[in-house]
């Protein structure tokens, strides 16, 4: 029998997805389109943050939204009511969006007529952290009622995100949420992350979030 030969690979397990994600990024840069991947648990406020962001930025940027949802199109209906281009991806099972799905969604959008695309990823703090979608920035939302221990339970998501919106801060008085501990735990996993405390209900903190996003879009394009 032939001897076994070992071949060094040192290649990322998800390299296929990553290569396609990189192609998507380059294609979008060539067309001066900035893409944001928004990730959070169900009910954290992804759709609400998208709507509030659209309302604040739609006079400056032409915005499109890719909605990832396992079965329904409730979110897409809410977002398209804001008058922006919306593509609904019904994943029908998968717990995350990956680069091939985003590529397909982009194929149905007129990229020449857009400056900003926001991906609403599937509601889940685990799987979306693993898959590069081709977005320029990854942003996660954590809502106060979910608890400050989520950073300990789902560390990968916090370690890969460029920014974190701590939503529903109007609940802080009712919740047992320690902001100092939370920040310390987040920063030890990811010292470069930007944290925005906000409430989509009262509007608090949303201008600071939009200011950051505006600067990131301008820096990239």
């Amino acid at each position: 029998m032939d001897p076994i030969k070992f071949i060094n690979i040192k290649e990322n397990i998800l390299s296929d997805n990553q290569n396609l994600a990189q192609e998507i990024r380059e294609e979008l840069h060539a067309k001066k389109v900035f893409m944001l991947n928004l990730m959070a648990s169900p009910g954290a406020g992804k759709t609400s943050l998208i709507i509030e962001t659209i309302r604040r930025l739609k006079t400056e940027f032409r915005i499109g939204v890719i909605e990832g949802d396992i079965e329904s199109q409730v979110d897409a209906t809410r977002v398209s009511a804001e008058g922006v281009t919306t593509v609904q991806l019904r994943t029908g099972g998968p717990c995350h969006l990956d680069a091939p799905m985003i590529k397909a969604a982009l194929g149905s959008m007129n990229l020449e007529s857009l400056d900003l695309i926001i991906i609403e990823n599937v509601g889940n703090l685990v799987c979306p952290a693993e898959f590069d979608t081709g977005a320029d920035r990854k942003v996660m939302i954590l809502s106060v009622p979910e608890g400050d221990d989520k950073v300990i339970k789902y560390p990968l998501m916090f370690s890969v995100s460029d920014a974190l919106v701590l939503n529903k801060i109007d609940y802080l008085a009712l919740a047992d949420f320690n902001r100092e501990n939370f920040r310390e735990h987040v920063y030890r996993l990811n010292p470069h992350i930007r944290i925005f405390e906000a409430s989509c209900k009262t509007g608090e903190g949303l201008d600071a979030w939009c200011e950051w996003l505006r600067a990131e879009i301008k820096e990239t394009n």
Partner: protein, 117 residues
């Protein structure tokens, strides 16, 4: 069936087959993965999915070996590197007791090598 693990396994198979073909391998007998402890990776299912997906390919019946890479932090005060459980509420540097620490490993997710004939 867990679709997340299935998607990850499909990706492993693609990378393995690409390298097997490039080296004209007759058969892939082993696959060595390096996976950081922070990855949500269910090792038990992986082989089962892989056996299912790899039927009829040169990677059929190959054995997946997973080496877990521990979560390590570095102290920003004294530069000490130390292992820690990320699920712990408080993480201190064992050397100077500072809480100013930064993650340095534990998110790895790559195929180290394959054994081929």
């Amino acid at each position: 069936m867990n679709i997340h693990e299935l998607a990850v396994t499909e990706s492993i198979l693609k990378v393995v087959l690409k390298h097997a073909e490039a080296s004209n391998a007759q058969k892939v007998v082993s696959i060595d993965l390096k996976v950081g402890e922070m990855r949500d990776f269910v090792e038990e299912w992986m082989q089962w999915y892989f056996d299912y997906l790899s039927k009829g390919t040169v990677a059929e019946e190959s054995k997946i070996n997973v080496t877990k890479i521990p979560v390590k932090f570095q102290c920003k005060e004294c530069a000490e590197n130390f292992n820690a459980d990320v699920k712990e509420k408080e993480i201190y540097c064992p050397c100077c007791e500072s809480k100013q620490v930064e993650l340095v490993s534990g998110t790895e997710f790559f195929i180290e090598s394959i054994g081929v004939i």
